[in-house]
């Protein structure tokens, strides 16, 4: 069935309030400024050379779930950027609502479509550009805008106060010392081998992940630290809301915190979008070709710890398990082989999904979509039945997903489609099954 975005309008406080302030003339002025300032050869080439072949349709999990062309990558561009350019930005407020709904909630910026387009057209970039326009117009979904506000005010995503951060780490240290008496969560250690950074949801409601990481690092005997100042959060929702200025501030704070601590590198927790922000986006905005401090994702760090024998598994996690490849560390960093080596080292029996590795389907939560909150929850669950089919076809009951957003997205899909699977981080399994010397 063919529909358009107008057939599936969703009310959102942020979008409604945003468009209420606009007129076509105001919209045009802003769009022309954004196009003149930021639109360059990439946008021009992509829009001009796209031959409208529709090959990219099958790349997108939304299309594969709905089989509706308005969800195909090129279908989304047709309903947004092409129209904007055709009308030279003179479009209605309602049209901007549609643009925002498509760009923020119907595209995860997962970059799978680049494996389908012979011309290499980066639809994720075009959708990011549409988001940028929407941000400049003040038309952003309320929930993701709230996270951007939090980033702006606190430099973390979840309004975690400065003292709450330290308090949470001390609390987890206390808890963990019941199990491993000599465990520390070292704060502000200058010259440590690495700074461990996490996303704000960890101190906020997934504190056990900090606990687990501390136990793993303790057992590995590594020299690490966490900052006691803002700059500890590696997540970056401003990157997805289109607020590149705040995006840059967050990344600068993160890198400068690592530099202040004189660490040799930054090791990041199991998060995908945060990795994208630090590894691929923030550095560019700030003018670094790569990073001022080397950036390592947990997958790679666990791989190092296992390969160097710093941690050993007391037992293997009973399988079979399947592996979900998070877009931002697989298509975004090529960690598919290391991920598999780690999983094979810690689990008994792996059943691969099809397709997998760089071709894996997205969880449908990333790219800021899950952060657009409850009004759009069903968009990403109904829009990813293809992932449910993929998970179900493995026939296994455990799925390893080394990414927070993927956990959020997959968890909802597993419940909705009654898959009865459990989700695990690598850290969950390593913590559970590793040798723990000196542990009570």
């Amino acid at each position: 069935m063919t529909t358009t975005i107008a057939d599936r309008r969703i009310e959102d406080a942020g979008l409604e309030a945003g468009i209420a302030r606009l007129t076509p003339e105001k919209i045009q002025k802003t769009i022309q400024a954004v196009l003149a300032g930021e639109g360059g050869a990439r946008l021009k080439t992509y829009v001009e050379t796209c031959v409208r072949c529709g090959m990219c349709a099958k790349a997108c999990h939304y299309y594969m779930s709905h089989k509706d062309p308005s969800y195909a990558p090129v279908g989304k561009v047709r309903q947004t950027m092409w129209e904007i350019l055709k009308h030279k930005g003179l479009v209605s407020p309602e049209f901007i609502h549609q643009c925002a709904q498509i760009a923020y909630t119907e595209c995860n910026l997962c970059r799978r479509c680049m494996h389908y387009c012979p011309l290499g057209i980066d639809t994720a970039y075009i959708m990011t550009f549409v988001r940028r326009i929407c941000h400049k117009l003040g038309v952003t979904p309320q929930y993701i805008q709230d996270t951007a506000h939090s980033h702006s005010a606190t430099l973390n995503q979840m309004w975690v106060k400065d003292d709450e951060w330290i308090d949470t780490l001390k609390w987890q240290e206390d808890e963990a010392r019941d199990e491993v008496p000599d465990l520390r969560i070292p704060l502000e250690v200058e010259g440590a081998d690495f700074m461990y950074s996490v996303i704000a949801p960890e101190p906020k409601f997934r504190t056990q992940l900090i606990y687990q990481a501390a136990v793993i690092f303790n057992q590995a005997g590594v020299n690490w630290t966490m900052p006691a100042t803002p700059g500890w959060d590696n997540s970056n929702m401003a990157m997805f809301s289109g607020d590149m200025e705040i995006m840059g501030r967050i990344e600068m704070a993160h890198f400068e915190t690592a530099q202040r601590l004189r660490v040799k590198r930054i090791v990041m927790g199991e998060c995908g979008h945060a990795f994208r922000a630090v590894y691929d986006v923030g550095n560019r905005w700030l003018g670094w070709g790569m990073h001022p401090v080397p950036v390592v994702h947990s997958i790679e760090f666990f791989w190092e710890l296992l390969n160097s024998g710093k941690i050993r598994m007391a037992k293997k996690y009973p399988g079979p398990v399947t592996i979900h490849d998070p877009c931002n560390v697989i298509r975004g960093r090529g960690l598919m082989d290391k991920l598999r080596e780690v999983v094979h080292a810690i689990c008994d029996g792996v059943v691969e999904m099809t397709p997998n590795r760089e071709h894996n389907y997205c969880c449908c939560a990333g790219g800021g979509v899950i952060n657009c909150g409850p009004p759009f929850k069903n968009v990403r669950i109904v829009g990813n039945s293809i992932k449910a089919d993929q998970l179900k076809a493995t026939g296994v009951k455990t799925c390893i997903a080394p990414c927070h957003n993927c956990h959020g997205g997959l968890d909802d899909i597993i419940h909705k489609y009654g898959l009865g699977m459990e989700l695990k981080f690598l850290g969950d399994i390593i913590y559970e099954c590793m040798e723990k010397k000196g542990a009570s």
């Binding site: 063919t2 930021e38 639109g39 360059g40 050869a41 990439r42 021009k44 080439t45 992509y46 001009e48 050379t49 796209c50 031959v51 409208r52 072949c53 529709g54 090959m55 990219c56 349709a57 099958k58 790349a59 299309y63 509706d68 062309p69 308005s70 195909a72 090129v74 279908g75 047709r78 680049m114 494996h115 389908y116 387009c117 012979p118 011309l119 290499g120 057209i121 980066d122 691929d280 560019r284 003018g287 070709g289 790569m290 697989i330 298509r331 975004g332 960093r333 090529g334 598919m336 397709p355 760089e358 071709h359």
Partner: protein
């Protein structure tokens, strides 16, 4: 009609080739300047190694996920593009014209084969037209522009085919064939046919991002 034919193979041919060559160069140059001015931070990630790696994989039939998932389109696309270049360049009647005008020749395709390849292009055009009409994901994004470009290619090859087989008035068809071909050349730098110019760069750029930064394949 004879005057029109003379105009078509004379001044208009110069014009068409001129617009095609100069227009293409101008567009490539202006796009490069724009990229340097506005996308410098991204242009700097382009590398020969990963650009060519990506282009290489995408030039192999079924060498990428996109090609594999669209098998019929893949076969037709390859046949279409190969014939689109082979036939005009290596057709005996075209080489004769180079010889008459400039006195140089080179190996030609056997007429029978060239004829078959011409039919292949026409069938491919019909296949593309069928896709635009029948597949919802293609119909949804198809505009007049796409039809104009498709009709331009189909008209060029079908008038050539009819002229070769002496079906209909030979002079009229030959003249039409020349005019259509010239229109196609002129259209290349200024329409979606410009993917012929820019496609390698956009593929090369994304290949560089995937290869050099993201360390993942993009095919």
């Amino acid at each position: 009609m004879l005057e029109l034919y003379a105009l078509a193979v004379g001044p208009l041919a110069w014009l068409a080739f001129g617009v095609f060559v100069i227009g293409s160069l101008a567009r490539l140059f202006s796009m490069y300047s724009l990229a340097k001015k506005k996308d410098a931070a991204f242009l700097s990630y382009m590398t020969w190694r990963y650009s060519l790696r990506s282009i290489f994989h995408w030039l192999i039939p079924f060498g990428s996920l996109g090609w594999r998932e669209n098998p019929a389109l893949t076969v037709v696309t390859y046949v279409f593009h190969i014939c689109l270049f082979l036939v005009p360049i290596f057709l005996m009647s075209h080489i004769v014209m180079w010889d008459t005008s400039f006195g140089f020749t080179y190996a030609a395709l056997p007429d029978g084969l060239a004829d078959g390849l011409t039919v292949a292009v026409m069938v491919a055009c019909l296949f593309f037209a069928w896709r635009r009409l029948s597949l919802p994901e293609v119909r949804f994004v198809t505009s007049t522009h796409d039809w104009v470009v498709l009709v331009l290619v189909l008209s060029t090859f079908s008038t050539g085919f009819l002229a070769y087989h002496q079906i209909g008035d030979s002079l009229t068809l030959t003249t039409l064939h020349v005019l259509c071909g010239e229109a196609m050349l002129i259209a290349i730098p200024f329409t979606r046919l410009s993917h012929m110019l820019f496609g390698f760069f956009s593929r090369g750029y994304i290949g560089s991002e995937f290869g050099g930064v993201r360390r993942a394949k993009d095919w």
